[in-house]
Symmetry: C2
Subunit: 327 residues, 2 copies
């Protein structure tokens, strides 16, 4: 299976990208299409010892910087590395791609190139955000700041297919995130959505509260992307402060790994190399800008695993099944 | 100074309430009006040794249970302990009151009895929610799930007066909580509010993100009560999971207090006995249902400290000053 990797995206590109690609070769089924500035990549690759047949450099005309306005940059730089990656997937050359670069540009490029599932207005992003509740996916995490109730129901279906595929769960539980567990609690959006969720064929457990995310009460937590994005970053921030406090106060080698785990489990994006854009007709995984080689290797394997499990078609079918339950 | 204490409210009432009241007597300026079922309170008080002149039992006709619908219960049980407490403040007998009982009923009773500041539609609640950022107040924490931009600006002014009084800060910084720090980031509410904040005389620092709450970037974080409530409970939940993990993994007496601090610093409400209802013409402090005697004693001292600092008038003036900046 061929996976495209944006060689230019990320805070430590192309070094970490190259090392991540080489690490990913330990999966014998993979070939990497490493996309970026040809000379630079080839020169750096020459420092490493690996199976030359399994990493191919695909030239791009530069890259989109983090500081660039995504939608504009994607249109203007048609041969930038992110665009070349999505092109390789679109043409069927690669089974999916990973970029740790400008995430807005990855969204714009992948969504424009692959197209949205029928009836969706925008893709969404979802992920487990707290490592002590690893089978609790939360979405949307930032793309849809003012969604409608219909959109939230669609996100739920997409989340369900996601956890079925990733965690192998049979009938994932779903809840709406709210300011109280009672069915009459919530802001306007949640109140309007509750009845729709209730009527659907989702395994709907009602409203849950903030602490229920931490304890992993359900598998799919649905919220607007404004709230989700704040939660994601709050957990990273809380984890960081607690980690620093413990590292200062407990200088004891026996407990070093335990304390490190606090950091890892509150920054899953950095740890596991990101998640796929949900709701588009192709596999594009967004990685954390600060990804380590291991995170990049994990991200490449995520792409492969989604492709192996026919992720796109499964997600589409879940959405169709849900919508039929409203007919 | 006389402070009214709801003797019947809280998970461990009246035992913790009585012990908290007695502990609060270590502040020599205080007298406690302990409100509740006379026989029960007097009988339990007889087990303790304290200055009988400084705790007076004020009889009520029962109490409002946690399970009761607040607005209805407050109207129906006119002589329940919470209502008697707000009555004592309204009549000027007590300088303020603390209840750890049904918080909705405390809101309803205090708001109905004291009345709102001019032009406010609803009171709000604000507090520091993360102990590693103790001078960062966030509001609203749950009363206003769909506020307007005007309301958010009012909350900012009320938050500013709060931190001036509590932390003694001269010119507190203020920010809007958003999904990105850029001025064009946010949901509809935040985008519509940004310009109002910008034009005001607030020391406005723009939008901040989730992790900035954890690092204490500003003194007053303004958000809708839906988001605030979820954040508050998420932090409690995250803290609880991390605390349990560390307690299991680090069984070492030397580090016990450090690990306990994680729990304390992520559950400030339980720790410090709650915060005042903001925007009403009288002092009413809401305590956590699970308050310890020490938390209740702290809560009583919070009431006293707010009264000493002329909290109500200071808050009103802050609001008037802010509104004048728009003329």
């Amino acid at each position: 299976m061929k996976i495209a990797l944006d060689g230019m995206g990320g805070d430590f590109a192309p070094k970490n990208n190259i090392e991540g690609a080489i690490d990913a070769l330990s999966n014998p089924t993979l070939e990497i299409l490493l996309v970026g500035i040809q000379e630079e990549l080839e020169q750096q690759l020459s420092n490493y010892d690996f199976d030359k047949q399994r990493i191919t450099v695909i030239p791009s005309e530069g890259a989109i910087a983090d500081s660039e306005q995504p939608a504009i940059a994607v249109k203007r730089k048609v041969n930038a590395s992110i665009n070349v990656c999505s092109g390789l997937v679109k043409k069927g050359v690669a089974s999916g791609f990973l970029s740790c670069g400008n995430s807005g540009a990855t969204f714009a490029s992948a969504t424009g190139m692959f197209g949205l599932f029928e009836g969706l207005r925008k893709p969404c992003v979802g992920a487990a955000i707290f490592g002590f509740a690893p089978e609790t996916l939360i979405l949307d995490l930032g793309l849809n700041v003012d969604p409608t109730p219909d959109q939230l129901v669609d996100f739920a279906a997409l989340g369900v297919s996601q956890v079925k595929i990733i965690y192998g769960l049979e009938d994932p539980t779903v809840a709406l995130l709210s300011n109280g567990s009672e069915s009459n609690k919530g802001n306007r959006l949640v109140k309007e959505s509750f009845e729709l969720f209730h009527k659907s064929n989702l395994n709907f457990k009602g409203n849950i509260e903030g602490h229920d995310i931490a304890s992993g009460k359900v598998n799919v937590v649905v919220c607007d992307g404004f709230t989700g994005n704040i939660l994601l970053k709050l957990i990273e921030g809380i984890g960081n402060e607690i980690f620093n406090y413990l590292r200062c106060e407990i200088k004891d080698q026996r407990y070093e790994q335990i304390i490190q785990n606090i950091s890892n489990k509150t920054n899953l994006m950095r740890e596991f190399g990101g998640g796929p854009i949900i709701g588009i007709n192709g596999i594009a995984v967004i990685g954390h800008g600060a990804s380590s080689p291991k995170a990049i290797s994990n991200g490449i394997n995520s792409v492969a695993s989604l492709a192996n499990k026919d992720y796109i078609n499964q997600s589409k079918n879940e959405l169709i099944k849900l919508r039929e339950s409203f007919l």
